[in-house]
């Protein structure tokens, strides 16, 4: 059975902003699914609709078998929601935050006490359990956030940008927590992220979202291996960048050429062999090559391949 089914959700804010444009995907029970896309792609809006915080203009969605629009109460009991903007009470202790969350979910007494203590232990917060959250570090606060989403043993957990704003060390620690979480509890996790690396590492399957739609979906490995060969990126100076793209297209062993600003993205069978040939050809026409990088395919390349745009540029543009 699918724990999450999203079927053609549409949502606009005002007249101009079309946040969701018929997004569609489903997540089988027990899977960690990543919604990957730049800021503003519609990931958070999707999660907010699934968490019953807001309503879609069109389309439908079910979570744990319940319709998010007509059975909001049942959905809320079945889900844990970890919002992007945290949501912990800074003036309360970690334990108090967990207990309050549990009580609002209808838990009480010894069961709630034990569950809170267990979660504090699991997330390495036992030492600071009775300290006010405002004394926590960013990483600790975020771990408490996730623990709060889990207190009532939900079937489905939504993690909206779980590591945004964390330093690299705290991010790595959070990844480890989430990995063991996914392994231990029979939990369906929907993770949104604009870190390609995060989706690659944590999600069993990934849907790449761009402008309110899923552009492609699959396991990170399948998505990457669908792109043949290596990625070559050439940064150009000068003015005739279109001419350079034309020349690259004519070369043997070059499959795919995308021009993105001053960056020329090529897909080649074998990077090390292709680069000298490409450079020689460009050099012959007087193109001004400033930098060259060769890499194994990454989700970056998958994004570029399916949207025709550079992930980081999209992410920055909408930030």
């Amino acid at each position: 059975m699918d724990a999450i089914v999203v079927d053609g959700l549409e949502k606009s804010y005002g007249k101009d902003v079309r946040a969701l444009d018929g997004i569609r995907f489903s997540v089988p029970e027990g899977e960690v699914f990543g919604l990957l896309g730049p800021n503003g792609a519609g990931k958070s809006t999707t999660v907010r609709i699934l968490a019953t915080l807001t309503k879609a203009d069109a389309g439908r969605a079910t979570v744990a078998g319940h319709d998010v629009a007509s059975e909001a109460g049942a959905v809320r009991r079945a889900i844990g929601y970890v919002p992007q903007a945290s949501g912990v009470d800074r003036e309360a202790t970690g334990r108090e935050n967990l207990v309050l969350q549990g009580r609002l979910q209808g838990m009480r007494g010894a069961d709630l006490e034990r569950r809170s203590a267990d979660l504090l232990e699991t997330f390495g917060l036992s030492d600071k359990a009775n300290a006010l959250v405002k004394t926590y570090s960013g990483g600790m606060k975020r771990r408490l956030d996730v623990a709060m989403g889990l207190v009532h043993r939900p079937h489905v957990l939504f993690l909206d940008e779980p590591t945004t704003g964390l330093d690299p060390e705290a991010r790595a620690a959070m990844w480890e927590e989430l990995e063991s979480l996914a392994a231990a509890e029979s939990l369906t996790i929907l993770l949104t992220t604009h870190y390609l690396e995060e989706a690659d590492r944590l999600a069993r399957r990934v849907a790449i979202v761009s402008r309110g739609k899923v552009v492609v979906e699959g396991t990170p490995e399948a998505l990457k291996s669908a792109l043949r060969g290596d990625a070559v990126t050439i940064e150009l100076g000068g003015t005739d960048t279109d001419g350079a793209a034309e020349i690259a297209r004519g070369l043997a062993g070059v499959h795919e050429v995308t021009m993105d600003g001053r960056r020329l993205h090529l897909r080649v069978d074998h990077g090390a062999q292709a680069v000298p040939v490409i450079l020689a050809a460009l050099d012959a026409t007087g193109a001004d090559v400033q930098a060259v990088t060769v890499s194994r395919p990454s989700l970056d390349d998958v994004y570029l391949h399916h949207t025709g745009r550079d992930f980081r540029a999209d992410d920055g543009e909408l930030r």
């Binding site: 807001t54 912990v88 800074r90 003036e91 309050l100």
Partner: protein, 256 residues
């Protein structure tokens, strides 16, 4: 049933957080004392004016300060809501099965409890200063009026907070309302000394209703029909503003 228990849980959360702020507690205690002592000195001879009758100014002032304090703390209550909103606490509550109404009621109840405790304190000091206010029944009416006033204005304040969602706008609206409502009432001065047109307007003012109810037992010739009417009006005001706050909550949700 669940609405009541969730209201209590959420109210307890805010009271607990506030109880950890010593400065807040100190101001909540000292400020009403300050008003009571300051006004009783400043306006000591005001009862010499015609219109006050035989009522002592302490008797006159004690219910007034209790209501003023309740009115102020109710009016500013929305600031707490904005803080929860900014910090994402509200959004998190909304993703739980907790009743939407309980989220608003919990906050309103918290303001009302704080204001009632303050009124109790004011009353105790007033009694030490020689106020009688008609004995136990009069005291209970003061506490009830303070409770309803704080709750009613807290409802209004939370509604405004949820619609403006900005601290600066919230402060502007609260300030815009507070002094006019205070002076369009007989809170600090005998009703008969207020110009006629202001008296008529003041009958539309919930602060005036609260003062008239709270002061009823102290003023000879005020019957239960009058006090009862004002208490009912206050109850109606509370129902109205609570509805407004709950509706505003829905309008906030639509913006998510």
């Amino acid at each position: 049933m669940t609405v009541i228990s969730q209201t209590l849980i959420l109210c307890a959360r805010v009271l607990r957080n506030l109880s950890r702020q010593p400065i807040w507690i100190a101001v909540m205690i000292v400020q009403p004392m300050f008003w009571l002592l300051l006004y009783s000195q400043l306006f000591r001879r005001i009862t010499d004016l015609p219109g006050f009758g035989t009522v002592s100014y302490v008797d006159y002032l004690t219910p007034g300060v209790a209501i003023m304090t309740a009115f102020f703390s109710g009016s500013w209550a929305g600031m707490g809501m904005i803080e929860d909103l900014d910090r994402g606490v509200l959004e998190r509550f909304l993703a739980t099965p907790a009743s939407r109404a309980a989220i608003v009621f919990g906050r309103i109840l918290q303001s009302a409890i704080v204001a009632t405790l303050q009124a109790l304190l004011i009353l105790l000091v007033g009694i030490l200063l020689g106020a009688t206010n008609g004995g136990i029944v009069g005291w209970l009416v003061i506490l009830l009026a303070a409770f309803l006033t704080a709750a009613g204005f807290a409802g209004l304040s939370h509604g405004i907070a949820l619609r403006t969602r900005q601290e600066a706008s919230m402060i502007a609206v609260a300030q815009f309302l507070s002094l006019p409502l205070l002076f369009f009432s007989s809170l600090l001065i005998a009703r008969t000394l207020i110009p006629g047109w202001m008296q008529s307007f003041s009958l539309l003012n919930p602060v005036e209703w609260a003062v008239r109810a709270a002061r009823g037992e102290a003023i000879p010739g005020t019957g239960w029909d009058e006090m009862g009417t004002f208490l009912l009006l206050l109850g109606g005001f509370l129902a109205l503003t609570t509805t407004f706050a709950t509706r505003s909550f829905r309008s906030y949700q639509r913006t998510l």
